[in-house]
């Protein structure tokens, strides 16, 4: 596989690359800065990377509209620096490096713990320009917050991981940065932490995020830490803090304010980086305990029964548990595939799912990147064929 990325400097050039690849019968692999973790089984057989990193112009930004249009290659870090002085932000806190690009964030479509408060990535992408696998340049959606003109191709492309087209331009909705940002850390044993999370998530307090992390990761001496993030006006946050303490009947182990709180969550965004196994277990929030148990079994197995690198974390508001591990290159621990398969059966029985974002090929082949979706497989194939009839783009829906 040729690893040298092609770096088009315009949408027209991107289109030429796609048309040339189509004519030559070769494959392309859409990418941003190639820092984003995880192909999730979407990329099966290589292809020449096409990086949109040169498409990083800000085309339109009117702060009072809270809308920004930029080339897909703009880094999320640079975007934050542009809109930050106006006290605005893009609360896409999807897992990945802040050096990742806006286009890649949209293409991967995953969302972080702020989803409940701000909506998922899919809810905040207003418009896209894409070059499809058959070399058409489409401008879909727009740059207004409400738009129902025609079918929602923007949502189809969000999360399609480059399998339908290369995203060249993105319009997103921005949000005002709240006046106060606070994170309360409550430490406890494994079941205690889950029960605290339930209390917080079902309380009337509008928490922005509620994450469970292993105590060791944040220097706590208890097994788990519940990180409750409060965002809003200073008085609202103060009142929220008071009520959460009252609801849990305990003081937080630590409280992080403003810059500290932001840095804590920024660090959390990079949690998956460098791991060779990442599994995402989704369940309904009130079955978080079962999903956590399944995830723990996977982590223990990934460690080969011994103390190892594997860790788990959970987004309690969403009911999403993640497992991360760095596995030996050659031989994944014995029984890992079986444990993952069992975990998938367990969460599927509860109406949830287990997907692998990262896994060594031997594991992924045996477990499958996602559970079976036979019902929608035919639709998925037809959608791929509509945008990329000759499979010029390497990614396919797993």
């Amino acid at each position: 596989m040729n690893n040298q990325a092609l770096t088009p400097e315009s949408t027209a050039e991107t289109r030429e690359i796609v048309l040339a690849a189509r004519a030559a019968g070769s494959r392309l692999l859409p990418a941003g800065r190639r820092t984003w973790p995880g192909a999730g089984g979407w990329t099966r057989d290589g292809g020449t990377p096409v990086s949109t990193s040169q498409l990083d112009t800000v085309h339109h930004y009117e702060p009072a509209d809270l809308i920004l249009t930029a080339g897909a290659g703009i880094g999320l870090d640079r975007l934050a620096r542009i809109v930050g002085p106006n006290r605005q932000w893009l609360p896409f806190d999807a897992p990945g490096s802040s050096a990742g690009t806006l286009g890649a964030a949209v293409a991967s479509g995953t969302s972080g713990p702020l989803r409940t408060r701000y909506g998922a990535t899919r809810d905040n992408v207003l418009g896209l320009e894409v070059v499809t696998g058959d070399g058409r340049t489409l401008r879909i959606g727009g740059r207004v917050v409400k738009n129902v003109a025609g079918y929602d191709l923007v949502r189809l492309f969000t999360g399609s991981r480059g399998s339908l087209g290369i995203i060249t331009r993105v319009s997103v909705r921005l949000f005002p940065i709240p006046g106060a940002d606070e994170t309360l850390l409550f430490a406890g044993g494994p079941s205690e932490a889950v029960s605290m999370a339930r209390t917080v998530c079902t309380s009337e307090v509008p928490v922005a995020a509620a994450e469970l992390v292993e105590g060791e990761e944040v220097g706590a001496d208890r097994a788990m830490v519940l990180a409750v993030r409060l965002l809003g006006g200073p008085r609202e946050v103060e009142e929220s803090r008071r009520r959460i303490r009252a609801a849990l009947g305990t003081e937080p182990w630590r409280a992080l304010h403003d810059g500290e709180s932001r840095r804590f969550h920024t660090a959390r965004i990079g949690w998956e980086e460098g791991a060779s196994l990442v599994a995402r277990l989704a369940a309904l929030p009130d079955r978080l305990d079962a999903a956590l148990a399944a995830a723990r079994a996977c982590a223990t197995r990934a460690n080969g029964g011994a103390q190892g690198s594997a860790a788990i974390t959970a987004d309690a508001l969403q009911g999403l548990v993640r497992v991360r591990a760095s596995l030996p290159d050659v031989d994944p621990p014995t029984g890992l595939a079986e444990t993952l398969a069992t975990a998938r059966r367990d969460v599927e029985a509860l109406g949830g799912s287990l997907t692998l974002s990262h896994a060594p090929p031997q594991v992924a082949t045996r477990v499958g990147w996602t559970g079976s979706r036979r019902e929608t497989a035919a639709l998925t194939e037809r959608i791929k064929a509509l945008f990329d009839p000759d499979s010029v783009l390497a990614p396919r829906c797993p």
Binding site: E62, A64, D65, L66, I67, R87, R115, A120, R122, D123, L138, R139, I140, G142, R143, V144, K146, N147, V148, A149, G150, Y151, D152, L153, R155, L156, T158, G159, F175, P176, P178, G179, P206, G232, G233, R235, E236, E238, E239, R280, A282, A283, L284, P285, Q318, G319, L320, E348, G351, S353, T355, W369, R373, E375, T376, L379, I383, L386, C397, P398
Partner: protein, 485 residues
């Protein structure tokens, strides 16, 4: 009329009383809330279950007839109108809430459940369904899914598609697929997101899973009275720029205020004002007064004559009354109403409002504006009498010019009402041939036989294989009188 054999077959599937072929009873189904488009369906079928919908779809398709899904018929784009003798599949009897899962803040329901009834059913558990179209006491969630409906409070909470987490859909080939619904992480393409807003062209949703929100603890409602509508528009922009996020910001213009105050819906708005701005904040009690005070200051600074506040529910209902009853009040001024639905970038609002007023004057038409100012989602209402053919023609011209004005400002042709029959010929204003081609393609992915709600959303002349199609394309012009049967 549909063939007798089909009538019998449908009666066998859904029960005799679930099949309507009687001409008088079909009258009700001639139009949706945009009454300018009228076409009588071949028949109306009212199934109760996914299985009945599946078998109904199969039977109708076997007889070569098109299908139009229909909720409560409150739509404002002619989307539920049955062209070419299509069979309407109504969801009126699919009105059961299957589960309210309070611990997970979600509900599973049939498509015919009324929007407001879902919130009422969840209220006991402190939850509600956020999207609140103005027709929420009548419209169905299935219809909201088809149109990706909005509402005043979508400013803070987002539109329908943010809340739909899973769907069971009967496709035109009679297959049943489930999409989403596996927590929030359904793998693969976002088929749920693609289906929401597809205006009945992809299939019929027979089971819908939605997210619910906790009822906010406190609410503060303000009413700003302005002598100039541009000032109200500026106040909106400044409130948003300052980082405040109200739950709703709605503007009612002078002509609308006067229509409301002249009617039985009089809400006590000063009739010499040129704009009333309703602002609402919600959330924890703590901090709401601060926000309301800041918003009040922005209104006064932008030139508001006065700002009234509501402290209790009764006062709140009074402040909202003028906004909520605006459409009803306008119905008393003129027999017909054309509601537009363009969305523009918020900062262009003052210029756009001026432009709309000039277009109205030029065509000698009454244009009244009631709109979701915070979202930039305009609803210019052109009042007319469709029996006056000259006026009708002016309405068409003015309507197109208003649309073009909004598109030129970076806006779109519809923010929440959908394209339907009404705006399909405006689609080329915002999409080129490649985009329209792709939309035809995606429609065929779901509906290769073109049986689901044909003649809607996409203009026939843009269809790639238009020349080869046997079907008589129904035009989307306004009709001067009810279409002959």
């Amino acid at each position: 009329m549909i063939p007798g054999r089909l009538t019998k077959e449908l009666a066998r599937i859904c029960g005799r009383d679930a099949v309507i072929i009687d001409r008088d009873r079909l009258l009700v189904y001639e139009s949706d809330a945009l009454t300018a488009y009228r076409h009588r369906p071949g028949a109306v079928v009212l199934p109760r279950t996914t299985e009945e919908v599946r078998r109904t779809v199969q039977a109708v398709v076997r007889h070569g007839l098109p299908i139009v899904p229909r909720g409560a018929g409150t739509g404002l784009s002619g989307g539920a109108v049955a062209l070419n003798g299509a069979v309407v599949i109504g969801t009126a009897r699919m009105n059961r809430i299957l589960a309210i899962d309070a611990p997970n803040r979600r509900a599973v329901l049939q498509p015919g459940v009324i929007n407001a009834e879902l919130s009422a059913a969840a209220a006991g558990q402190g939850l509600y369904y956020a999207p609140d179209p103005s027709s929420q006491t009548a419209c169905t969630i299935g219809g909201n899914v088809a149109e990706n409906s909005g509402g005043p409070h979508c400013l803070k909470y987002g539109v329908t598609s943010r809340y739909v987490t899973g769907l069971t859909v009967v496709l035109p080939d009679g297959s049943v697929v489930k999409a989403g619904g596996q927590g929030r992480e359904a793998p693969g393409y976002d088929l749920v997101g693609l289906f929401v807003g597809s205006e009945g062209c992809f299939g019929i949703a027979t089971e819908i899973e939605v997210g619910l929100l906790p009822v906010p603890e406190g609410v503060r409602t303000l009413l700003g009275i302005f002598d100039r509508i541009e000032d109200a528009g500026r106040a909106v922009s400044e409130i948003i720029s300052a980082g405040l996020l109200p739950a709703a910001m709605e503007i009612i213009d002078g002509p609308t205020i006067r229509a409301v105050e002249d009617s039985v819906f009089a809400a006590g708005y000063p009739t010499d004002a040129e704009a009333a701005l309703v602002i609402e904040f919600d959330g924890l009690e703590a901090g709401l007064d601060d926000e309301a005070e800041r918003a009040t200051r922005f209104c006064l600074r932008a030139g508001a004559r006065e700002v009234r506040g509501a402290r209790d529910e009764e006062e709140r209902v009074a402040l909202w009354k003028g906004r909520k009853k605006a459409f009803g009040a306008m119905g008393r001024i003129a027999p017909d109403l054309l509601v537009q639905d363009a969305t523009v970038p918020r900062t262009t609002l003052p210029a756009i409002l001026k432009g709309i007023s000039e277009i109205g004057k030029r065509y000698n038409l009454i244009v009244a504006n009631v709109f979701h100012a915070g979202d930039g989602n305009l609803h210019p209402n052109i009042l007319f009498d469709r029996r006056d053919l000259d006026e009708l023609e002016r309405v068409e011209h003015a309507s197109k010019e208003i649309m073009q004005l909004c598109v030129d400002a970076g806006g779109t042709i519809t923010g929440e009402h959908g394209v339907g029959l009404d705006k399909k010929h405006h689609m080329p204003l915002i999409y080129g041939p490649d985009e329209l081609d792709t939309m035809w393609g995606i429609r065929r992915v779901f509906d290769p036989g073109a049986v689901m709600n044909p003649g809607k959303v996409l203009p026939e002349e843009t269809e790639p294989s238009h020349a080869n199609r046997g079907q008589d394309p129904a035009r989307g012009e306004l009709v001067g009188a009810p279409a002959p049967a």
